[in-house]
Amino acid sequence: MMKKNEPLTGSHPLLPNLDQEIIDEMLLKIGAGSVEELFSDIPSDIRLKRGLRLPEGQSESVVRRDLQSRLASNKTPPNSLCFLGGGVWPHYIPAAVESVVSRQEFYTSYTPYQPEISQGMLQALFEYQSLMCDLLGMEACNSSMYDWASAAGEAARMASKVTGRRRFLLCGDIGPTRLEVIRAYVSPMDLELESLPFDVRSGATDFSALSSRITSDVAGVYVENPNYFGVLEEGLLDLSARLHEKGGLLVVGVDPLSLSIVKPPGKYGADIVVGEGQPLGIPMNYGGPHLGIFAVKDLRLARSMPGRLIGMTSEKDSEQKAFSMVLQTREQHIRREGATSNICTNQSLMAVAASCYLAMLGKTGLRRLGEVIISNSHYAAKRLSRVDGVASPLFKGPFFKEFAVGYEGTRAVSVYRKLASKGVLGGYPIDRGFRLGREAGLFCVTEVHTHADIERLAVALGEAVMR
């Protein structure tokens, strides 16, 4: 039998005016005979005559129990070990960071359109921009994009628009999902994407072959550092010099935590930096919300940037420092079809988390974190090299927290699934499209992993590769 479209009766915690007496008073003031009359401007042939086919509403205790039990069935830390990376990585989130982002003053507010009552969010975002500039070695950072991949897509678009050129080069060792997103973002543009070869021994881009391809019609080059295989790219200073000589822009994608001990892109000629801010105090959340980083070196480029920017100013009638959104004429709500991007809602709360995270660790803590991560990852790579039937690390290039492991006579996808069945998530199969000529999986080791965790991984991997 078809359910009728009937209003809810009784009380509901989310609907304070659900009370016939209140409704009648409101209708009286409006001068309407019924709530239904307020919808009489909807032509009757498109009115929904039946009720929506959805479950009945339930009390929060019921909904909470159901969802918590379904989520508890997921195999995740702390009940499983996670050694997966690829653009989202397991890191520890200090309790104080969680406490700050769970303050409703931050999370139930919106875009700071009224700066006088939004100084808290504005200042937090301004501090995020400042701290990120220091970490990246850049001059201007926006207050967030959706994620790394979409930031990379926007960067490719921006490089083409700023230079007026139609060729954009991508390193062959960038993350495959980033590659797909960049493709989709530039698909409506007249922009040709070209992939650069990498060296299957080092796992890094082969820049020697690159020089001849950088000509004066290249809008830019996108390189990830560390790249998808976790390998740090060498030779970027030469690349940027060559590129700048020809008037192109260098776009670098980063894991911000690597910059605790690795030279920041601003120091080797990056014009635009994008990246994933998730390791800075943001949960993995099965893919989001995360934090897209977008920064530029030259302040003149700031006017062509996508996304929201916060600036420091003062009160109108005094020198009292204050913050507000700036350069809004780039944005869609003012410039409409002429805007630098259509982005409106962004990931502000995640930017607050990141700025709080950077403040919590500070100069000393962040450096120490980088040292712990690189120690753990190198210990793990070495430990896995003692497992029969695997080559670890597969590539010879230097790495930060991720490394590829090659398998003999076993399919990577089977190792990945067998590991998961043993409560160890890791060894994400490296796509055959990379043409490594062998089966391999990607592992990520960070500060959350202990000696015992790595031992458990080694044992599980040994069992998983056994034929």
Binding site: K3, P7, L14, L15, M26, L27, K29, G31, A32, F39, G51, L52, L54, G57, Q58, S59, V63, L67, K75, P77, R103, E105, F106, Y107, T111, P112, E116, Q119, L125, E127, S130, S144, Y146, D147, S150, T177, E180, R183, A184, L232, K263, Y286, G287, G288, A302, Q320, A322, V326, N342, T345, L349, C356, M360, L361, K363, T364, R368, L369, N376, R417
Partner: protein, 481 residues
């Protein structure tokens, strides 16, 4: 306050690992190292204790207005209450620690939620299928525009290069159309504030790829000729895109699919009560009718013989717009919200949201706050009034004055077709008593404005009127400390 060596958190190094590894710097070639020798490379982050950091952010939070502090009727943003239980659920380990690349068989619980959510959104909008991957409304729009583009090309219609957008539309619509490589053709609203099918028919041509349409529109008016408008665009061979920013008015009342739309995005942070996070995150899932189902951005969550999985096998997909899956933790909250309300509850949300908007409007002094369009028509989820103070900047003055009453201002100066606009969306969350107070504050402000007694507002905020002009220089985008 920063002091050398001070930290809020220090990560541990396992002593057993420390014993068997070399110095960390030995793993990085010299030219790639970030040296810590005080040179140009060195990090310059502040060095603070945990308590210092907390005091700083807690103080900042006290300088920030939010839904849980007071009424926040920002038009077009649907600042409704965000149920606490959704936050509790989203803080589960099974959500926070789930990695997007872990095998699907290890994350069935969450995938079942996402799959059900997609089906629920299809039912609510009258669409055939949803992709949950897009991160915000604007990204949903970009996905929609890319689908229009690809669909037309696949049907040999690549010469269609214009998208119709009403002059009352959100700025994201023309911006998304332009990002998708289309020319934007502005559709003028009539005096009523509505788009007429006749005008659309005149503008539609063989170049028309589609139309982006917001219903109810940004004036809060239901577009009564939407069916005829859809038909006119379809007759010209174009596709209809529904901007779901204002869906809070229509849950269970009518559905975009029944109005003739082909593509829909929903802003889950608006209609489905996920928190706005000071500007984000949101989620902007995009749904389509059957003929466009294979064009959706990937992945979509499908159900197969051995369970739920991330489906990349869509033959005509416009591709991937986000690195991983979607804003899953936002999607989970929206699902919880739908479960809390159910079918009847959602219909009541729209009833009460529309009731609140019309009620608040009825309390306003109609000479001080007249409507410029659609006189005599009922409003849906929001009301746009024009501030008639006889003074330029009346809307801005009124908005700033409101801040002193412990409430947030409406959206100002939007939509662009209304001069001195205040766009008020109270939502169904707001108890009637607060609607009364808000209206009486606005009425008092208009009297003070007219009589020149308003003075320098705001007075009670953490800072006085902010100089936004002075801020608009790129050199103020970061600070040295």
């Amino acid at each position: 306050m920063s002091r050398k060596g001070r930290v809020g958190y220090i990560p541990p190094l396992d002593p057993k690992i420390k014993k068997s590894v070399g110095p960390p710097s030995s793993y990085i070639p010299r030219e790639l190292r970030r040296e810590d020798d005080g040179g140009g490379d060195a990090l310059n982050l502040p060095e603070l204790s945990e308590l210092q950091v907390l005091r700083h952010y807690n103080r900042l939070s006290q300088m920030n207005f939010s839904v849980e502090l007071g009424m926040y009727p920002l038009g077009s943003c649907t600042m409704k209450y965000n149920p606490k239980v959704s936050e509790m659920i989203a803080s589960s380990d099974g959500m926070r620690h789930a990695h997007p690349l872990q095998p699907e068989e290890t994350v069935q619980g969450l995938l079942s939620v996402l799959h059900e959510l997609g089906e629920m959104l299809s039912e609510i909008t009258g669409m055939h299928r949803f992709s949950l991957s897009t991160a915000a409304g604007a990204q949903g729009e970009f996905a929609g525009v890319l689908m229009i583009r690809k669909y037309l090309r696949d049907h040999g219609l690549s010469e269609k290069d214009e998208i119709l957008v009403p002059d009352s539309a959100h700025g994201t619509n023309p911006a998304s159309a332009a990002m998708g490589g289309f020319k934007v053709v502005k559709v003028p609203s009539g005096e009523s504030g509505l788009v007429s099918a006749k005008v659309v028919k005149e503008l539609a041509s063989e170049s028309t790829a589609g139309m982006m349409f917001t219903v109810p529109n940004t004036l809060g008016l239901f577009e009564g000729e939407v069916v005829e408008v859809s038909k006119a665009v379809h007759d010209a061979g174009g596709l209809m895109y529904y901007d779901g920013a204002n869906m809070n008015a229509l849950l269970g009342k009518t559905r975009p699919g029944d109005m003739g739309f082909d593509i829909v995005h929903l802003n889950l942070h608006k209609t489905f009560a996920t928190p706005h996070g000071g500007g984000g995150p949101g989620a902007g899932p995009v749904g389509v009718t059957e003929r466009l189902a294979e064009y959706l951005p990937v992945p979509v969550v499908s159900k197969g013989k051995s369970g739920y999985y991330l489906d990349y096998d869509l033959k005509q997909t416009v591709g991937r717009l986000k690195g991983f899956v979607g804003n899953s933790a936002v999607l989970l909250r929206a699902y919880a919200y739908i479960r809390l309300l159910g079918a009847d509850g959602l219909a009541s949300v729209s009833s009460l949201a529309v009731l609140a908007a019309n009620y608040l409007w009825s309390l306003l002094d109609s000479e001080a706050y007249p409507v410029t369009h659609g006189k005599g028509m009922r409003r849906k989820h929001e009301t746009v009034v024009s501030v008639r103070s006889g003074l330029p900047g009346g809307a801005m003055q009124s908005a700033k004055a409101l801040l002193d009453y412990g409430v947030h201002a409406p959206t100002v100066y939007f939509p662009l077709i209304v001069s001195e606009a205040l766009m008020i969306e109270p939502t169904e969350s707001e108890p009637v008593e607060f609607l009364d107070e808000y209206a009486s504050a606005l009425n008092r402000i208009s009297r003070e404005l007219k009589e020149g007694r308003l003075g320098n507002v705001p007075r009670n905020t953490s800072v006085g009127r902010v100089d936004e002009v002075k801020a608009s220089h790129p050199s103020t985008l970061k600070v040295r400390w």
